[in-house]
Amino acid sequence: MQISVSLQYLPILLVAGIVFIIGVAMVTINKFLSVKRPYPEKRVAYECGLPPTGQPRHRFSIKFYAIAILFVVFDVEAVFLYPWAVTFDQIGLFAYVEMVIFIILLLVAYFYAWIRGAFQWE
């Protein structure tokens, strides 16, 4: 019998479920077998043995935001490239030239980010 497309993906969900159940089972067994002797010092966030000072979630470098935005740009590019790559044999030279132009346009933006120091960490 022919399997419909949505059914083809069902086993992925099943495997995810199996892995999740194995994880939950291990944590549950751990709960029953473990010793429990909590005291206040144990339940403090680790900071080299001293009591933690100040806010742990302090401000961080703007670089991380820049990297995240560049990631979105390049990931969308990768998504554009996939259907092109899979059908490459059928669409031939014209599509190849088009994609090279697309990549060159993207490289312009890439080198702009490079010159403005987006990849510079010091």
Binding site: V15, F20, I22, Y46, P56
Partner: protein
């Protein structure tokens, strides 16, 4: 045939299909879990030998029962949850890591007749799941509400998304040569290549993929998120007992899945120089074990990079190389 018989047939088929996939998935996950356990043993033993030590040798003959002893020890450890954590996020993070790391196994064909889910977009599923696994890291770093975890999670997320791009672009060359995203089709397309593998025509892509795979799984020389000399243990500082072990499991699952993808996309999957009668997946396992050994070998050989070097390598070298690979592959295919 009336409607009711048809309905019953479909119902019966669905039950059979679900049950069969469940059994297949269970077998695959359990076998991989055993591989994960013995990968830790192999890692300690191989690195020990490379550093002129013996490695574990007390538990069982030649230390062969060491992974089992490790699991038993972890099961009896105290599970400490610090007071300051964001509880729901803290609880869910290891499971996200583990499930996203291990579910990719479902689409990987061990040989042409054994794959749990034979889907057309298998490669896309793998890339999507490897993106999801970075959420586990980010949420663990954020939810722990500890300084080291926060910095580790921040570093890890930036590193993982950077190398994700390089990896995604490195695979485009393979898709162009195979003309498919289905992993079985990709393996079958390699039979006409030299040595029955894409590693020769896609040598740049293979290089980029391997470097990116090591960085994606946060292993030495790219293990900055957990650089113990600066960040203690990075994003899982606050985790203990089995929750800590889940992160470790996720890392090793990731390593094995990435090796499997490399074997399938670049090293010709189950094809070998000559067929071995009776064991159709023999060559798949040989290549897989070699790549896992390669990971361990790299860890024993190279020192850790600085953070600016890691980001520089990803953005300034690997991404341009991967784009160049796409252009060259296309040019060769257009001219041929």
């Amino acid at each position: 045939m009336d409607a009711k018989t048809l309905y019953d047939a479909a119902d019966h088929f669905l039950l059979k299909y679900t049950g069969l996939s469940l059994i297949k998935g269970l077998v695959l996950v359990v076998i991989t879990l055993l591989h994960v356990a013995y990968a830790t043993y192999a890692e300690r033993k191989v690195i020990g030998r490379m550093q002129q030590r013996i490695g574990p040798n007390r538990v069982g003959p030649r230390g062969l029962l060491q992974p089992i002893a490790d699991v038993l020890k972890l099961l009896t450890k105290e599970d400490i949850t610090p007071d300051c954590v964001d509880r729901p996020v803290f609880m869910i993070a290891p499971f996200i890591s583990l499930v996203a790391g291990a579910t990719s196994l479902a689409v990987i064909p061990i040989w042409q007749n054994f794959v749990v889910a034979n889907v057309n977009c298998a490669l896309l599923v793998i890339l999507a799941l490897s993106s999801l696994s970075s959420f586990g890291v980010i949420l663990a770093g954020w939810g722990s509400n500890s300084r080291y975890s926060f910095l580790g999670g921040l570093r890890a997320s930036a590193q993982v998304i950077s190398y994700e791009i390089a990896m995604a672009l490195a695979l485009v060359g393979v898709m162009m040569l195979a003309g498919s995203l289905n992993l079985i089709d990709i393996v079958k397309a390699q039979i006409n290549s030299p040595f029955k593998m894409f590693a020769i025509p896609q040598i740049i892509g293979f290089f980029v993929f391997m470097v990116a795979a090591i960085a994606e799984t946060n292993r030495t020389p790219f293990d900055l998120p957990e650089a113990e000399s600066e960040l203690v243990a990075g994003y899982f500082v606050e985790y203990s007992a089995m929750r800590f072990a889940l992160f470790y499991l996720a890392e090793y699952f990731g390593m094995i899945v990435m090796s499997m993808v490399a074997v399938i996309c670049f090293l010709g999957g189950w094809y070998g120089p000559f067929p071995i009668p009776g064991i159709p997946f023999f060559w798949f396992l040989v290549k897989l074990y070699f790549l896992i050994f390669f990971y361990i070998w790299v860890r024993a050989t190279l020192p850790r990079y600085r953070y600016d070097q890691v980001m520089g390598l990803g953005w300034k070298i690997l991404i341009p190389l991967a784009l160049l690979n796409i252009v060259i592959t296309g040019l060769i295919k257009v001219l041929a």
